[in-house]
Amino acid sequence: MVTDDEIYTTEPVEPAPDPEPEQAPVEVISVGELLDRLAGEDSQEPEEPSEEPAEEPVEVIDPGPSFQELWDTPIQVIGMDEALRHLRTIVAQTEPHPAMTTDFADYTVSEALLLLLLLSIFMAACIKMLKGGFAWLR
C-alpha cells in the first residue's frame, strides 16, 4: 500500500534563460557629429607606404564608347535593306485587296495592268461611238 507520504510529484522545470550577451555600451551622438564622422571616413584614405619602386607607366586601355553612346549611335546592318524590301513585298502580297475600295496608289503591277486594259476597252468604245456620230464629216 502506498501512502501519501511516499508519492512524489514532479513539475516540469523550465530551462533557465540564457544569460544575455554583454552588449557594447551605446554611444549617443548627435546627427552633426555623425555626419562629421562619415565625412572624415570618406576623406581619410588609407595611405599606403610608397616603399615600392615606381612602376613603369601602364598602358591605359580605352574602354570604348559607353552603352548610352552605342545606344544613341545608328547601326547599319548589312543586308537589312534587302530584307526590308522582301518584307514589304510579302506584306503587299498578303495584304487583302478589296476590288472596289483599294486605292489606285496601292495597286500591284498586275492590278494596274488590268485597270489599264479596262480603260483601253473603255477608250476604244468611246472612239467607236464618236466615229459613228461624226461619220457625216467624212
Partner: protein
C-alpha cells in the same frame, strides 16, 4: 480647248477630282460614256439633218 472640255464635263456632271479607287471610277466612266454618247447622238442627228437638207436642195 481644255476649258471647253472641262465645261462639257462639268455640264454632264463629271467630278473634277479624278477617282481614287474602282468604286469611284465606275460611275465616273459611266458618266463619261453617257456624255460621249449624248454628244455623238446629237451630232449624228445634226449630220443626218444636214444630209437631208443637202438632198432636198438637190431635188
Amino acid at each position: 480647248m481644255a476649258a471647253v472640255v472641262a465645261e462639257f464635263f462639268g455640264i454632264i456632271g463629271v467630278d473634277i477630282l479624278p477617282p481614287s479607287n474602282l468604286a469611284e471610277l465606275i460611275p465616273y466612266l459611266l458618266t463619261v460614256l453617257v456624255g460621249v454618247a449624248l454628244v455623238s447622238g446629237v451630232f449624228r442627228v445634226i449630220g443626218r439633218l444636214v444630209e437631208l437638207l443637202m438632198d432636198f436642195r438637190r431635188w
